[in-house]
Structure formats: C-alpha cells, structure tokens
C-alpha cells in the first residue's frame, strides 16, 4: 500500500518553527518533521506529548531493586546460608552494590526494550527516507495526503506562504 505525502522543504530553523505553528493553526495535520539536528522547542510547537518512558524506567528500576534484594536475601539467608567475613547471613550493606547495579541494569534494559517495542523498531524495519537533504542542510515537513479530502493547491499555497523553498510530492510504500 502506498501513501502520498506533500513535503515542505525549509532551510531555516526559525522559519520552520513559525511555519509549523501556522500550518497547525490552519487545521492541517503534520505527519512528521525531519531535521538534521535536534531543534529546541520543536516538541512544543508540534504538540508532541511528553514521553512516558521515565515511568517505565521507574518501575523497571523498582523491579531491579526488589529482585536484587530478594535474590541475595533468599540465596545467602535461606537457601544456602554461609558466614562470610564474620557477618550475619543477611548482611544488608554488602548487598547494596549488587542492588544498585541491578537497579541500573533493569531500568536501562527495560527502557531500551520498551522503546523498541513501542516504536516497532526491529532489524527488518524499513526506513522511509522522504528527502535525503534532511540529513544535510534542509528541514522537511511531511503532510499526509488524503485522496479527495486534501485541497492540494491550498496546501501548496499554505506551505509556500509560510516560507517553504520547495513543495514536493512523494509516494511512500507503507
């Protein structure tokens, strides 16, 4: 299945940010914006909600902490009690470094795995390059075309009047 996109090409960051605001204010839905580098404040103007990944990180970390403590207490305190260095079986200070490491490990891996699942990123993932210049010196704003709904000349005018140096069309296999 192919999808048709209109690409507005910009060559200035500030013009782009203003254009995004105006295009959205005109009621047009922006599919994606491509930029060679991260732009400060673009999340806000695009209306992108804050990532919920930190919440995942917190709970994965919490799991790591409790898993590490449970593992060490059970292993060294109940399953195979041993006296090490004259300390009690359940010697909490000695467990802290392992607990810390497992907290970090679980939080980090949990975040990465969640990110892969949510974004459906996998080795067979096919990346659609809308315009190669977005990896060099141009900013690309992609707007999905809905057949029969989108007014092409009006969209063209809207993009150009907001500083687009080019307006292209592209079909992408989805």
């Amino acid at each position: 299945m192919t999808k048709k996109f209109v690409l507005g090409i910009y060559d200035d960051e500030d013009v782009l940010l203003q254009a995004i605001e105006n295009v959205r204010a005109a009621g047009t839905n922006i599919y994606e914006v491509f930029s060679p580098y991260p732009i400060h404040g673009i999340d806000d103007v695009l209306g992108i909600k804050r990532s919920r990944l930190p919440i995942v990180a917190f709970f994965c970390g919490l799991f790591g902490t409790s898993f590490a403590l449970w593992m060490q207490i059970w292993m060294l305190g109940f399953d195979w009690p041993m006296i090490i260095g004259g300390k009690p079986h359940i010697a909490l200070p000695a467990f802290i470094p392992v607990t810390f490491e497992l907290t970090v490990l679980c939080a980090a891996f949990g975040m990465v795995i969640t990110f892969f699942i949510v974004t459906k990123l996998k080795p067979s993932f096919k990346v659609n390059v809308f315009d190669k210049r977005s990896t060099d010196d141009k900013f690309v704003m992609a707007i999905e075309v809905k057949e029969g709904v989108t007014d092409m000349p009006a969209l063209n005018d809207l993009l150009r009047s907001n500083g687009a140096i080019e307006v292209n069309e592209k079909e992408v296999i989805k």
Partner: protein, 428 residues
Amino acid sequence: MTEERLIISRKTNNKFFLMIAIGVVLLIAGIIIAAMSGGHHAEGHGEAAAAGHEAAHWSKRLYMNLWLNNVYFTGIALVGVFFVAVQYVAYAGWSVLIKRIPEAMGYYLPIGGAVMLVTFLLGGHDIFHWTHDYLYNQFLEDGVTPNPQYDPIIAGKAPYLNFWFFLIRMIAYFVLWILFFNWLRRNSIGEDLHGGTNYYHKSIRISAMFLVVFGVTSSTSAWDWVLSIDTHWFSTMFGWYVFASWWVSGLSVIALTVIILKQNGYLKLVNANHIHDLGKFVFAFSIFWTYIWFSQFMLIWYANIPEESIYFIERLGGNGGHFKWIFFTNLLINFAFPFLVLMTRDAKRQMIMLKIVTIAILIGHWLDFYLMMMPGTMRTDAGIGFIEIGTTLIFLGIFLITFTKGLTKASLVPVNHPFLEESVHHHV
C-alpha cells in the same frame, strides 16, 4: 540586556539583625543553663571534677559550635567561588543569568577566616586532641620515666599535625581563596562596566588556576578542620566526603536564593529551564554525596578493622547510642528525601518543591557536619539545644547580611557577559 539591581530594604536587613539578636539571646540562655547544670554535674562526680574533666564544659560546647558552623558556612561560601570557576572553565552558557548569586557567596570568606583563626587560637585544645603537648613526649621531664600520656600514633603524625604548620595552612587556604575570589569578582564587575571579551578570557584562566588550588585545599582543609578531630582515625575518602557535603549544600543555597529572588520579583529572565538545571544539580549531588558516604562506610564495615570501625561505632551503638538518630536522619534527609522527591522532571521545575528540598538538605548537611565533629569531642555531652540553635542563627544572620550585601553591589544580570544571550534562551 538591562541591569537589575537588588535592593535589600531596611526591613529585611532588620530581620537579619533580629535573627542574630535571637541567636545571641538563645546562646546566652544556653550557656547559663549549661554552666549551671555543669556545676551540678561536677558535684555528683567529685573525682571527675577534681581531675578537670568537667571544668569549663560549656566553653568547649561553644567552641565546637563556632567551629561547626564556621566550617559549614565557609564551605558554602567557598563552593560559591568554585561554582563560578567551574562554569567559566566549562564555557557554560546556561548559568550566566544566575552567576552573580554564587559569586556573592564568597563575600563570607574573610569573616569565615577571621572566626576560624580566633576559634582555633582560643579553643584549639577543646576542638583538637592533637594540640596537647604532653602527647608527644616519650619521657617525662626527667628524661627516664616513660610518659604515660605519650601517644605514638599521634606523635607519628606530628610533622603534619602541629600547631604552626596547621596555622600556616589555615592562613594560606584563606589567603588563596580570598585572593581568587576577589580576582574573579573584580573581572566580573569590570566586564559589567567596560564590556568586551577580554574579561571573559581572563576569568577562564583565573578559574582554571583556582580549580587546581581548590582541588588540593578542599581536601587538605577537610583533613585539617574535620578529620583531625578524630586524630587516631583516618579515611582516604574524607576529603571527597567533606567536599560532597559542602558542594551539595552550596548548590542548595544557590538554588534556594534564585527561587527566593525570583519569587520576590527579581531575576525576571530566569525561567523554569534554569531552575530545572539547578534542580538536577541538587538531585545529582545528593546522590553523589550518598555514594561517597556509602563507599566510606561499606569498606570500613566490611573490613571491620578496630582502628577504622571505631569511627562508626562511636556514631551508632557507641556513646550509649547518643548519635544513632542523627546517623539515620542524616541518610534520610540527605539521600532518601531529595532522591524520591526530586526524581521527576516536574518536581525539579517547580519552585515550591525545590525550595522544600533545598531547605531540608541545608538542615541535613548541618547535621552531617555535626555528626562528623561532635562524637569525637563532646561525646555523650553533645546535644542540640539553645547553644546549637543560637550559634547557628548568629552565623546564618551574618552569612545572609554579607551575602545579600554582596548581591546588592552589582547588577544581578551580568550585562556584558558574552554568553548572556545564550542563557536567556536556555532550553532543556
């Protein structure tokens, strides 16, 4: 960019003086109570009093409090200069708008130096066990009889821990710190008046030199002023530990001052992103302090070598468990509380949250220094009463007067700083 002058009203200044006055009243009340109960104490233990153990008890407590508060506030003042130096060397842009606040903290340093010197000269024997001459003589005056009070461990440290070298080091630290503070400050003010990038480049060179000086002196001053109280004990992490405590307290003072100024209508250009960065600093270095705390604790706990573990025994079960509650409160306020409260992004960007946490940290690290100093000197006689609260209020008042006076001396916005524009548009 326009200048922004801080005006400290007479009313605010009077509040600071009132703080000092209340402190003095509390201190005198505390001394009277301590002197009276001390006399009573001596009657009950006639022998101990005769041996001179209980004599002048309140003065020892007073000297310890002067020392504790002065080390604490001097550290905070020093961290102000250190913060500015780090920002310069790192070519940091975000901190330009708040730079005048840490800069003004250094104005306390001369007072800190004077109080430190006087307290050491008057109360050195009460604070530092190693200052007693009898510890160093292997034999009594006849040259034959072994001296029962001879302490070979302390005598072995004499090349470093002796009165004159200690005094010279103390003076050298303050001379160096004040010199660098004045140098940086002069350049900063000069930049305001004349502009140009010369001042900026010069400040980077001064800062780089200061960082080298600070790297050495922050460690050695921690050994001198805090570690040598427990003369027999040593810890290779101690310099870092005191630095971590100073640093997070200093960062809390910076964050708290920025918030208070902002809530009073100053620092209009400072936005949530600057507050967020300060919040991250406070959050991160609370964890850093805990990391250092735990590294020191765990190695000593695991090895369990008597001469090392005595330090923690004195603070936990020893001294009749006198310091146990402070030991755990210390960890709770300085680690658990900031860690859990400041974890989310929103908490770091909200002024009210950050305000609560920084105040808690400031109290917590005062307790941290209390825990470093009191068990080795006051033992079970240590307490937190009128003398402690009074002395702290006096120091706080003096610190606030010098600090705010320093803040009024220049524009709160460094108008000609080359990175000012970057700081105004700071975004995280």
